[in-house]
């Protein structure tokens, strides 16, 4: 057989994704995390634990994760933890909302403005919209981030 059987899948598995999937960034436990949450796709076997460290003013100072899962879920968590660092919680949630739209539809009408550069970094994952059963792999990290940010709402510092 020729080598090209899966060539058209390079849209989904772009080099960035394969790279982040193989060598996820921020792949560690944060012992001094202020917020943590677990994300689980029981059907797929994707599992992750997310750690968020908040600065005194409430913005995300550091983010990291550990877990196991497919290339898409690992790459998404890797890219997410990279991009939300230094953002306010509100910005991170807005990015998450727009990322879910991007993953489901492949386009993101609201991705301009102050988050434009960050959304650009997440764009390689937009290919999942062609694979309905894989969308949740890409969005798991963002759901987990929301859960982490919600989890400590009572102690949430100023936003």
């Amino acid at each position: 057989m020729s080598g090209g059987l899966f060539d058209d899948l390079r849209d989904l598995y772009q080099e960035v994704i394969l790279d982040h999937g193989r060598k996820p960034r921020n792949f560690k436990r944060l012992d001094d995390a202020d917020r943590t949450a677990r994300g689980d796709n029981p059907m797929c076997g994707d599992r992750m634990e997310l750690f968020v460290k908040l600065a005194p003013d409430g913005h995300i100072e550091d983010a990291a994760f550990q877990g196991r899962g497919c290339a898409i879920s690992m790459a998404s968590a890797s890219l997410m933890t990279d991009t939300v660092k230094g953002k306010t919680q509100a910005q991170a949630r807005l990015m998450g909302e727009n990322f879910r739209a991007l993953a489901m539809t492949g386009v993101c009408p609201e991705c301009g403005g102050e988050i434009a550069d960050d959304m650009e970094r997440l764009a390689p994952l937009s290919g999942v919209h062609d694979f309905p059963s894989r969308v949740k792999c890409a969005t798991l990290a963002w759901h987990t981030l929301n859960a982490a940010l919600d989890g400590g709402a009572k102690e949430a510092s100023s936003e």
């Binding site: 057989m1 080598g3 059987l5 899966f6 058209d8 899948l9 989904l12 598995y13 394969l18 029981p42 059907m43 797929c44 076997g45 994707d46 599992r47 196991r68 899962g69 497919c70 290339a71 898409i72 694979f131 894989r134 792999c137």
Partner: protein, 413 residues
């Protein structure tokens, strides 16, 4: 079609019976290797169900008019066909349910909670489908039963020494184990398990959801007390399952669900249960589905279980010759007695990524944990892909899978 095809099974003719097999997936032939999750349906089944709805449909057991009598007769004939299929001695030993899951839940309620005493134990195994785990956990928690889990060996076979140990104290009321694993393909030695259970004073239930599709099942020969299977994996419709239960057991079991058809007398003070199996078939049953199941059994019988078994053996041999040869592929389980179900992991990629790639080649496999999470834990793997064969699977499809897996590994390197 190249490769060794069992001469006794006309594969081209069989495939022509399944309309969906001529569908294309992204321009490629549809290579369906997920029959273990649910099998495709032949025209004969589809036709029988449509014919029933177009010409002979009414509710059963309820109308003193022609159509209802006809529907009732067809429904009861399906029961007879199932009894013959399992070689049950009496068609009243066949209870129609909604699925295997429903059937096991029925036993867990009516026998587990209704007949067994708190303090008695149920033995399951490490390779059960969730359908044969969770109902027993629920019965344990509600009724004070003990749940024991029989180990399996590293090759994926039931550890019979451990079964003997689990049975030794005589407190086991029921052994409930699979007759064929939906992940490892392992076929369990049912007759021997039943003998061991009976010698220890326990009853035995076999989850035949996979086995009944691949092997001739004789409930009297193996001496099963309960035997369960599900219509949609046997080339029949969804929404119908079968519980074989010995008459003497049905006699002492209280009903599971209450409603119409399961009573012989109802007043506001009390109800009198109908004789079995009606006692266990509350409400309007899956009538059209029973007709479809009958057609599926007729279809399988017309091809013949020996031919189906031989065809599958050829596919298993082919898969065993090809899959372990692919670098980076690990097969789960190496049972001696096995059917056409293969779970595997690839070293460079997660099961989901592999499944997405295979889908591009038109190949449908399942990925994840296949409703057997504890089993994956037992083998220390997060998830696997699973290829499972049906009577329409060709040796060329097995080759296609092997070639695609090889390329998938390269893709992710």
């Amino acid at each position: 079609m190249d490769g060794p095809i069992a001469p006794w099974l006309n594969l081209d003719a069989v495939r022509a019976d399944f309309p969906i097999l001529s569908e294309k997936v992204r321009g490629k032939p549809f290579t369906f290797l997920d029959s273990g999750a649910s099998a495709q349906k032949p025209r004969q089944v589809i036709g029988a169900m449509v014919r029933m709805m177009e010409t002979a449909y009414a509710n059963v057991h309820r109308g003193a008019y022609h159509m209802s009598e006809q529907a009732t007769e067809a429904y009861e004939l399906s029961r007879v066909a199932v009894a013959t299929f399992l070689n049950a001695g009496d068609s009243r030993e066949i209870i129609f349910t909604g699925s295997s899951t429903n059937a096991i839940n029925l036993v867990a309620h009516s026998y587990g909670r209704g007949v067994m005493q708190p303090g008695q134990a149920v033995v399951i195994s490490e390779m059960e489908h969730h359908a044969n785990i969770v109902p027993w956990q629920m019965a344990r928690d509600a009724h004070g039963l003990e749940l024991r889990v029989c180990r399996i060996t590293d090759s994926g076979e039931l550890d019979l020494d451990d079964l003997a140990a689990k049975l030794a104290d005589g407190r086991v009321g029921l052994v409930a184990v699979t007759h064929m694993s939906n992940v490892l393909g392992t076929v369990t030695p049912a007759a021997q398990i039943a003998r061991m259970a009976h010698e220890a004073g326990a009853k035995v239930l076999f989850d035949g959801s996979q086995a009944a599709v691949h092997r001739r099942v004789d409930v009297r020969e193996i001496d099963a007390d309960f035997y369960v299977f599900t219509g949609h994996k046997l080339y029949g419709p969804t929404g119908i399952g079968v519980l074989y239960a010995k008459g003497a057991l049905q006699e002492v079991m209280p009903p599971f669900l209450g409603g119409g058809d399961m009573i012989s007398e109802v007043s506001f003070e009390r109800s009198v249960w109908a004789p079995y199996p009606a006692k266990f078939e509350a409400g309007t049953p899956p009538i059209i589905e029973a007709i479809g199941l009958h057609a599926a059994i007729d279809y399988v019988n017309a091809i013949g279980m020996p031919a189906i078994e031989a065809h599958e053996r050829a596919l298993v041999d082919r898969a065993m010759a090809r899959l372990p040869q692919i670098e980076g592929v690990t097969l789960l389980g190496r049972a001696q007695d096995r059917g056409g179900v293969f779970a595997f992991a690839l070293d460079t990629a997660h099961a989901h990524d592999v499944a997405t790639l295979l889908d591009r080649a038109g190949i449908a496999v399942r990925s994840g944990r296949h409703c057997a999470e504890p089993l994956h834990e037992r083998f220390g793997v997060e998830s696997t892909c699973r290829a499972s064969f049906g009577l329409y699977t060709t040796p060329a499809e097995v080759d296609l899978l092997a070639d695609a897996l090889h390329q998938a590994r390269e893709f992710f390197r």
